[in-house]
Symmetry: C2
Subunit: 335 residues, 2 copies
């Protein structure tokens, strides 16, 4: 059992979610927890189970004696401090994009590629939240019948950009309803009652960074470096939980019933596909849930050879998309 | 010039938009306008240009002397009254789904298949708003290089389900922000800060009616009865203007520059694709605009043979998606 856990970025959306998971997953029945944040967060008291822990500033001695450190404070903080933490003996579970595509860093979704974890050099990366939500339903299908092509369009919640972004959605919605001007501060465009292409920079190939991450990370996790996959990432005025419209092409014909059967017993997934009641995956239902909800399972009529399947997913990006996945990586490390 | 125009469903979202277009498009410089609505709307005064017109109840004599009647009061009203109006000599431009797939009824987007209008038997149908927004950018590309497959995912505004639905989004958002319970009345699920699969009934094939319409109507308008096309239709908490993530496969390789060049001179379209400024199509920019905004034009990396293109569209479903298209049909009939 770990004696000493640390969370860097403890006051952020993902950090707080990890704090909530620590008692739930019984991670620290015996042991010590250290919480770190940027200056603004220092001194805050965060409830972890029945006790509270004070947030400290990150210093050169912060990782002394730390066994496992969760990093969820952004790329820059991870680049600066993760190698340092490893240098003083901690194993880092990194939630940022800093090391995800580094060939020396395993990128792990425990339900998919737990074996990759053994090869680490002190840092294990947890994928982008959209990658996790996309990969969970595709992987068990891919094992049964290789996936030859993936076309995904996302519907990403404001909170994927942090608590300030979620707050901006609330504020803008209130301002709009009161007839006041809507002023974007966190996002580059209005988010209330609007939507826009994901705010990460768009490259000369026309793809934005979020889309490139989903593509490259899926290939790495699946060990399929040339998997045909394209993504369109869109920010929508939802508070929490990302959704995805997923179009798949398989090597061989596959039926919706086969897909339903495979997904019904797949880990991390819950099939929500009640055609009669009109009940399919929705962000409000996925929020706070460990499982990614999958529905709208149907034969793609545009692929008359029977090799096409359409799916719709909603998953809590802060939970399974981030905090829970990092916690599961810790559990895997200790098992 | 038409001497007598009628609008059935004048108090609804599309009817009001037609009323706004009548002076803008100079449809009635000489002539008479009759407005009809269900009992609740009767007696309302609607501003049309500088005058106001009183809404009347629909009766057996309503269409006497009417040259052209716009129907935008739903499928049932169209089924009941459109043949009657035709019987007394009116030409009906129908905005409902009632006759769109009837082989004897032309389904027309004036920029695409104006020639189909000549074959009418008194009724001309205007397509589903999502079909219009999808077809406008695809058609000019299809003429240059045949489109072999379309995969579309929609982000549809609340007002696509009418003014009451748009009002429900506002009310629910206000209720949520005030900590009150959110109670769905118009939509089957909460719409504020949530999204859900389109509320039309889902069939045994797993597709909902909206998706089936987009597929069947596109095939009819393009005169391509076996065009490979699939759609996923999703309702999002946007007040007005539908968006679409569109993935295309062409017969021959095609580059983003070719697509940009073709779309830049295509009617009904405006290319909004500023990679450096991060400015792409958004509902707030598309609202109230005649043109459908198209951006995120890029080579689909999942089709390494260069035959794949990704697009993102935002278009005002009430304007070009409905009212403007029907008005353009009228203009075509009179030209």
């Amino acid at each position: 059992m770990a004696r000493h856990l640390a969370i860097v970025g403890a006051t952020g959306a993902v950090g707080r979610e990890i704090c909530a998971l620590i008692p739930e997953r019984k991670l620290l029945q015996v042991g010590k927890l250290s919480l770190f944040a940027s200056r603004r967060g220092v001194g805050k008291q965060i409830a972890v189970g029945h006790s509270t822990v004070e947030v400290q500033e990150l210093t050169d001695s912060s990782f002394d004696g730390v066994d496992f450190a969760f990093f969820c404070a952004g790329n820059e903080r991870s680049r600066e401090w993760a190698p340092f933490a490893v240098g003083v003996g901690a194993v880092v579970i990194d939630n940022s994009a800093a090391f995800r595509l580094d060939p020396d860093v395993p990128l792990v979704i425990p339900e998919i590629n737990p074996g990759d974890i053994t090869d680490h050099n002190g840092i294990i990366a947890s994928p982008n939240c959209s990658t996790v939500i996309l990969n969970l339903p595709i992987w068990p299908l891919h094992r049964a019948n290789p996936v030859k092509r993936v076309v995904v369009s996302t519907y990403q919640a404001a909170s994927g950009a942090g608590t300030a972004a979620m707050e901006e959605l609330r504020t803008q919605a209130a301002d709009y309803l009161a007839g006041r001007d809507v002023v974007p501060r966190v996002f580059p465009h209005p988010i209330a009652f609007n939507l826009f292409s994901h705010e990460t920079p768009t490259g000369s190939d026309g793809y934005n960074a979020e889309e490139r991450q989903m593509i490259a990370e899926t290939r790495k996790i699946f060990h399929e470096p040339s998997l045909a996959i394209t993504a369109t990432c869109v920010r929508v005025p939802v508070l929490r939980a990302h959704s995805q419209s997923i179009n798949l092409t398989f090597e061989r014909p596959i039926t919706p019933d086969e897909v339903r059967e495979i997904l019904s017993s797949a880990p991390g997934i819950e099939v929500v596909d009640d055609v009669e009641a009109g009940r399919f995956p929705m962000p409000v239902d996925a929020t706070g849930r460990d499982n990614v909800l999958i529905g709208r399972i149907r034969q793609d009529v545009s692929q008359p050879d029977g090799r096409g399947i359409e799916l719709f997913a909603s998953g809590d990006h802060l939970r399974k998309g981030a905090a829970l996945n990092t916690v599961q990586i810790l559990e895997l490390l200790r098992s």
